[in-house]
């Protein structure tokens, strides 16, 4: 440990690993060895830096130099030029797309400038497979403090005062959820971490688990202490092999040092965590379906009430929180509710992690304070639209959300403002569409997804989404009529009103919101039977448009 003068941090998130970051690490190691610098320089595989578009990312510390798009071939120059001779490898620096200026330091890159990292604080900084690095940065202190210096009510009070709301999408106050579960009288209670991230294009939870698994484990233990559980479950989809591997390593390490198990921190608090794998069904992100799946039953939702807080896993009171929600907990305990509540808007506190995807320059993972505008996210952090094209729409909330248009770009986003403008926060996927995208096709894409993912338990969702998809297909193949548009609209509201769970209740949202904002694109597909002027030239003769 002593005498190490340089750390080479290499991103080991799924995105960067897909672009050969493991080979970069291997090559760096081989060259270091050949040049006999192994004793002075350490290579650290970290979690996701978030700047996936520019991956693989390599950062040299303490020099604070940020290299992007590093291929395995570049390892030689990084060692020979930078590490040995102290010369920055100019060609690997980030270049601003607008003026081709190169930028050395991570914090000077516009992508990072407006970000505030709470949930992602350790991602890209520590080696997620080493518990001691987590401890060195203050890890497990919040748990120690909670167990030895704070009563359950004091911890609960902190979380409540912080104003933290569920980051999985619903935005239910986390403190309140804990309080309800805590109040239940039962010898057996459970705390579950919902890592079933299913929105197309969303990868916030995966990156947190890959980059900082201990933050989630520690927060689960704190939650368990408050509600009175001694057993936790992480429900994660089997499609996240790297996150699962790192979780397993983290669990083993935490057990080895006694931070999980019996008599944690010398108190009489016992807690351990199991991992359960999901098969990747979208509906299992819904908490009752998730619990059913954990019990080995079909992943179908139940009627609520009873809520899981009253009757959850095997009928016992169960608290289900999302990965990102947990990732905020330790920071709240360590730095205080007041600090956390000072960030964000009146009713939405703290930050939110978004996965930027689609036609945007800087695809990646960003964490921003609540109340930031969409314009700042898309143009300042995201670097604008690919190829200099025009922004058309943004889908938030995944298949349950809606599209936002140019008119919404200056809205300060939080849970409530997004609902007001016809979308929702959702878990944090943000898909950007440009002028070339057809919005009817986008709506059809999302509907195909929900149709596939409908569990089939209730009729409106099972059959309704199928019918909607068929009508959309008819429209996009230019065989639709005005009557089809009407039927589509009716189906939307019928499914919304009569479905059992959130999946069905929100499935029509992409269609409703694209109809509202891009009605003309639907019309362009319609063949007008009464006035056959040819496709795409329909002039509406009366207002059958959507209620506006």
């Amino acid at each position: 440990m002593e005498g190490i003068r340089t750390h080479i941090l290499v991103c080991g998130g799924t995105g960067c690993m897909a672009s050969e970051s493991e080979k970069v690490i291997k090559n760096l190691g081989l060259i270091l060895k050949a040049r006999e610098y192994k004793e002075e320089v350490k290579i650290v595989q970290t979690g996701c830096f978030g700047f996936c578009e520019q991956g693989p990312i390599v950062k040299i510390e303490p020099d604070d130099v940020f290299y992007v798009r590093v291929s395995p071939k570049d390892a030689k120059d990084i060692i020979d030029e930078h590490v040995i001779k102290g010369r920055i490898v100019e060609r690997l620096l980030y270049k601003e797309p607008s003026n081709e200026n190169t930028i050395n330091k991570q914090e000077d890159i516009p992508f990072y400038k407006k970000q505030l990292r709470i949930a992602l604080r350790n991602c890209g900084l520590i080696n997620p497979e080493d518990i001691y690095e987590y401890i060195a940065l203050g890890g497990y202190e919040a748990l120690g403090k909670a167990l030895t210096e704070m009563t359950k009510d004091a911890v609960l009070d902190e979380v409540k005062k912080s104003g933290l709301r569920g980051r999985g999408g619903g935005g239910f106050p986390t403190g309140l959820k804990w309080e309800i579960t805590k109040k239940q009288e039962s010898d057996v209670k459970f705390i579950i971490c919902n890592a079933d991230e299913g929105d197309p294009g969303a990868f916030m939870d995966r990156s947190i688990l890959e980059g900082d698994p201990h933050a989630v484990l520690e927060a689960m233990a704190i939650g368990a202490y408050v509600i009175g559980a001694d057993k936790g479950i992480i429900y994660i989809r089997a499609e996240y092999p790297l996150a699962i591997e790192r979780l397993n390593i983290a669990l083993k390490q935490a057990r080895d040092v006694g931070l999980l198990g019996k008599n944690i921190f010398g108190t009489n608090f016992n807690f351990d965590i199991d991992i359960k794998f999901g098969a990747g069904a979208f509906v299992c992100g819904e908490e009752t379906a998730l619990i059913n799946s954990c019990e080995g039953k079909r992943g179908e939702p139940n009627y609520k009430p009873p809520y899981p807080a009253e009757k959850g896993y095997w009928g016992h009171p169960t608290c289900v929180n999302n990965v990102e929600t947990f990732a905020n907990i330790t920071a709240i305990i360590n730095r205080g509710a007041q600090w956390f509540a000072s960030i964000g808007t009146e009713k939405s506190k703290g930050t939110k992690v978004f996965a930027l995807a689609g036609k945007i320059n800087n695809v990646g993972l960003v964490e921003v304070p609540m109340g930031i505008t969409l314009r700042e996210i898309i143009y300042d952090i995201g670097g604008g639209i690919q190829g200099g094209r025009k922004f058309k729409a943004l889908q938030t909330g995944g298949p349950s959300g809606g599209v936002l248009t140019e008119d919404n770009l200056d809205t300060k986003i939080d849970y409530d403002s997004l609902i007001e403008i016809g979308s929702m926060m959702g878990s944090g996927g943000m898909i950007v569409m440009d002028e070339k995208d057809n919005m009817v096709n986008i709506a059809k894409f999302y509907l195909e997804f929900t149709m596939d993912e409908s569990c089939g338990r209730c009729t409106p969702c099972r059959i309704g989404t199928k019918r909607m998809y068929e009508i959309l297909n008819k429209i996009t193949s230019k065989k639709g009529t005005m009557a089809d548009l009407d039927a589509l609209k009716q189906l939307c509201y019928m499914i919304k009103d009569s479905s059992l769970c959130g999946l069905g209740q929100t499935a029509p949202n992409p269609v409703i919101s694209t109809m509202k904002h891009f009605w003309h694109e639907y019309l362009a597909f319609i063949k007008d039977v009464d006035h056959p002027q040819g496709e795409g030239k329909y002039v509406p003769k009366n207002k059958i448009g959507i209620k506006s």
Partner: protein, 130 residues
Amino acid sequence: MKIKSIDELRKIKEQYQDFVQLRKQGEGNSEHVEVLVGMATCGISSGARETLNAFVTQLAKEKIVGAKVISVGCIGYCHAEPTVQINIKGQKPILYGNVTEANVSKIIEQHIKGGKPVEDLVLQVDFERA
């Protein structure tokens, strides 16, 4: 080893702090002391690598957390290699020549800790930087 109390946890934290400190220092603000070691071919052949490692080890030993050691390229004073420049915020950068391993502790004691440059090692910088 099992961690049985918060004090034990803090002990482990301290033990590993130096290790991650290297990375934390990189984070932005230039309130730190910067030790720039010329590590071009001429520097390395005159022992700059040993000098650099001596800085890293001794700074860690002295628990000086505000200082970061960075290797830089050739500065042109090949006659006086290894060269080391010390940047302390608010002060004029000082360039030293012939900084062998033996001189490292002197610079740390007098300059970095005491704030007084080691005069007999200072190189007069007589060029302007663009």
